[in-house]
Symmetry: D2
Amino acid sequence: MFFASDNSGPAHPNVMDAMMRANEGYRFGYGADPEMDRVRDMIRDLFQAPEAAVYLVATGTAANSIALATLSEPWQTIFCTKLAHINEDECNAPEFYSGAKLTMVKDENAKMTPDTLRAAMSAEETRGVHGPQRGPVSITQVTEKGTVYTLKELKALTDVAKEFGVATHLDGARFANAIVTLGCTPAEMTWKAGIDCVCFGGTKNGLMGVEAVVFFDPQHAWEFELRRKRGAHLFSKHRYLSAQMEAYLTDNLWHNLATRANAAGQRLADGLRGSNTVTFPYEPEANLMFFEAPRALHKKVQAAGAQYYVMGSLDGDDDEMVLGRLVCDWSVGSDGVDAFLAALKS
Amino acid sequence: MFFASDNSGPAHPNVMDAMMRANEGYRFGYGADPEMDRVRDMIRDLFQAPEAAVYLVATGTAANSIALATLSEPWQTIFCTKLAHINEDECNAPEFYSGAKLTMVKDENAKMTPDTLRAAMSAEETRGVHGPQRGPVSITQVTEKGTVYTLKELKALTDVAKEFGVATHLDGARFANAIVTLGCTPAEMTWKAGIDCVCFGGTKNGLMGVEAVVFFDPQHAWEFELRRKRGAHLFSKHRYLSAQMEAYLTDNLWHNLATRANAAGQRLADGLRGSNTVTFPYEPEANLMFFEAPRALHKKVQAAGAQYYVMGSLDGDDDEMVLGRLVCDWSVGSDGVDAFLAALKS
Amino acid sequence: MFFASDNSGPAHPNVMDAMMRANEGYRFGYGADPEMDRVRDMIRDLFQAPEAAVYLVATGTAANSIALATLSEPWQTIFCTKLAHINEDECNAPEFYSGAKLTMVKDENAKMTPDTLRAAMSAEETRGVHGPQRGPVSITQVTEKGTVYTLKELKALTDVAKEFGVATHLDGARFANAIVTLGCTPAEMTWKAGIDCVCFGGTKNGLMGVEAVVFFDPQHAWEFELRRKRGAHLFSKHRYLSAQMEAYLTDNLWHNLATRANAAGQRLADGLRGSNTVTFPYEPEANLMFFEAPRALHKKVQAAGAQYYVMGSLDGDDDEMVLGRLVCDWSVGSDGVDAFLAALKS
Amino acid sequence: MFFASDNSGPAHPNVMDAMMRANEGYRFGYGADPEMDRVRDMIRDLFQAPEAAVYLVATGTAANSIALATLSEPWQTIFCTKLAHINEDECNAPEFYSGAKLTMVKDENAKMTPDTLRAAMSAEETRGVHGPQRGPVSITQVTEKGTVYTLKELKALTDVAKEFGVATHLDGARFANAIVTLGCTPAEMTWKAGIDCVCFGGTKNGLMGVEAVVFFDPQHAWEFELRRKRGAHLFSKHRYLSAQMEAYLTDNLWHNLATRANAAGQRLADGLRGSNTVTFPYEPEANLMFFEAPRALHKKVQAAGAQYYVMGSLDGDDDEMVLGRLVCDWSVGSDGVDAFLAALKS
């Protein structure tokens, strides 16, 4: 009953096997491994983007920060919601890498809308050199609150970005989960929807720690490589990143794992909906959800062994509503969910 | 016959086994894994430094850059040799993280001396606010050219640093190899010799990609943690870093692997010494060496399958002396060395 | 009829005379001029702060940015309103100098309140290393919209900052105007109200281009000096900055000029209040004001020669309400104001 | 007898008069003053560069740092001599603004040579992403030691830069003095010699504090403007910078003042040559010089009232040779020089 994060569970056995296979013989380092050649081709195929520049890094924060630095200039501002991981959870890494600042776009259901985005970009009237200049838009899919942008919503946002002549970045830490929710292709959720650069996450979906950064316009390739090295994110023994990603891309593992995670998430959401004391501030559309429940309920399920984050203290009035967050990773399975729901109902 | 780098070979099986064992069940992320608790204790024991702050990162450049940023201020200059990895091979990462600049200290046999260090630090007369202020000294052990500072030499350098009131950082990408060469303890080669912070390398010595950063004065701990996160180098699934390091520290694996690598290196150096056309610009004291040999010789051994870096072209006058670099990792073994030497002599 | 900005008018004759006097003979540079020694003493006297560290720079953006960099760390966030000059009008200079980011505090009447400040600081729950850490609070007095914090309001805000253990910076680009409005002393409006550092503006109040930065705790002195030099803001011929500031401090010139500017501002505001088509979105409490008026009115007074900024186009429906900004500098006088009001009424 | 620096003397009366004239009426700020329009035209005429982008800042460090930041990328290295002001006297400002590092080019007679430049640029073999990438070359003219590059020497250096595909920046803090020495035109000493960007100094030659930055290729214009603002170096009351520069350009004042300064410098050098105890480590070719003389001589002239910097202590063996630096500004005149020489001989 571990629902604290989708970075809490184990890596998938296929990934470990691939690491083992990669651990034979000698390789030139720094991305010159043959595994990376295969990964590059597989990602280009997956995204139907034969020209795309493809790179691997080991953390999601690195992927986002180096990608955004490549798309922006230090006198610009990057548009995102207040809830964005790049705003709340990366300890100024995006600002450190880019030199740019972040401007908050109002969210509805944890998503920016064309109207709130346009309002923020218009308000950021730059008055020549005085204000920060408009830089890229960064969208998180699945959002940090568990909702998912539809393809139409994504397209409407990238259209606004294009109006202002700036690029759009997709923080896809839970990219696979969103693909499963939408039932679409990676191309449809990225460049066909106007996205210029995607961080295609693997760490939260069964890898040990690998994210791919994909630029659909390869003009950004060399700058990204230099920024990655300067940020100390180029691995000498790069084969171990490549091997993980190769396993992820083989036999649709990435999709299968997200399918499991989302199924667990939906089973859990359905179960919670059955409890008349639980409410969802955001509609759970993938594998994570926030829920409000009486403190007594949180105490009960945690006492039964469930692990997850509660926003606030477990000490206090039993009837008071307290917010919790539940995340299902690929490994939690229906048994884990059912155990949680049983503890809830007991 | 792969001598291109000590980051070219496989990780040791014990390390892979540890990864497998770590890949079970759930863990809280970001360094809160129980493996890390054990690693911290083991490193404190190893260094006889019960108060030390201990952190893991995945690349040597990250270890050096974040450590130096923690020890310096952006208006300072860091003292190192021109050959230093932080100067030549990190694409401005140390400057990016610290904001400081680097000042070159003249090297003799690839090492700074108390005289050249004092000369550089004195020349860097700061004239109040005008010049860069003096910042930490960074020493690489094993040096980038394969020589090793004696304990006395290290102490003499840290004494100069102390005269000027600045800290000393040890880039220990090949820390274990130096320990084997000197036959001393980690404490003797670090804090007992006046070192304030060491990057204790694992990647070049049988790990997949882990370096420990150790501050003997724990006052730097929290700043390092924030800089690591801001640099995007804090791993969510941190257990996989911890597991590698734990295996490395268990049963003296770190020492055993370096012993093997150094033995191979010395066997190789001895063999090369037997060839009357080969000279060493720097005395090979650990597991890597630079050697000058006629172009024809390089061509012959490379044609026989040896892989290593040649500084310059293989096209040209057969008799011209050309510089090559050979590095033995833990896995190359006496067979690999003997195959190389056989090719040399054939 | 020039109301575009208080940086549009001439410097006061006393200031020019002081420049002339300073332009004799030789001086050591970089702040070692005897004029600066006098300025330091005069500012310490003025602020009743005999230990204060006092520095001069030539632009308000430099004053704010270097001061905030000195008070913060690059992994922190600085709290200010969305309207703050440091947020809207400095093209990322505060972020460039500090490395920190800015977090928006909700404003009421262009001021933060203890409640909105506490809400922003509490929301910035840092979760260990994940989120930006809490850094200094930056308050603008007179606010960017022409309102003035009372001493009690300032104290309440610095009390909140102290609760969270962070420093408070006062952007005093219009410091003198606020002093005139409140009828208090500089000490009362700064350290007695809990302010740690003030940018004491001169450029908008009759100087050519000088701002003093005052740290009430001199521990920050040396760091500020290094940051100023590193930012290229240390003047070699520093005497010309000192001379301006000395003139400003002599015979209460700073106070007299602000008294004139505020009087003009209030005369203008009173006149506008008399027009039943004009409204003030913010109460004009010093020398600048925003006012809403029908487009036809803006067109009429601008056609009559009044110069000021209109937020939006002068083309369009005559009846539509359009926002304008009027600023009175020390030189505009009652004649200028009356000419404007006459044009308004004509 | 004030020879400490050419930033120690007064501004020229024409400059003060121009400031007075500029101090009338109202102006839009931030470079939109009509004085600046005239200055831009005058500089374009002076440099025979009708398309050039022209900007003013108040310090030489700002001019150099923002210019170099505009010409470089943060993963590059800038080539200069160890003696360069940007290396020794700007407290990391060039690194702060650009993110780039500096690589030292060996100097002969305080100048880089085509050979030493090519050697430094070749040594900076970048090995893909590993090393810093090659960035602009920065040349100081007059050099920091008082020597002057010939036009042919400049051209030979910019040719090397062009071989490597990088831009060349001229630190012209004493630009006018070099022009006087060479008897050439500003165009000949800049773009005709292959220079891409020049900092045309005024502060050391009779202004209060203004430097012009000139890019011969206007593609850099907007980036420079943003970097200037972000660096807090855009003046609101810009007219006072423009007015100084306008006076400087009117009636060849810039050239006349440098002619005076150089004449004084040469008179002083000639006088020193007459003393058989004085030697010049660098040939004095403009208005500043370093000289070695017995300590007793330094003590004698300083006791007589001469003010200048001595590199080392005045306490010690009278016969020991001690280095001193003498700089003649426009105002020192032959009387000042003769007084110094008389003290020397007495």
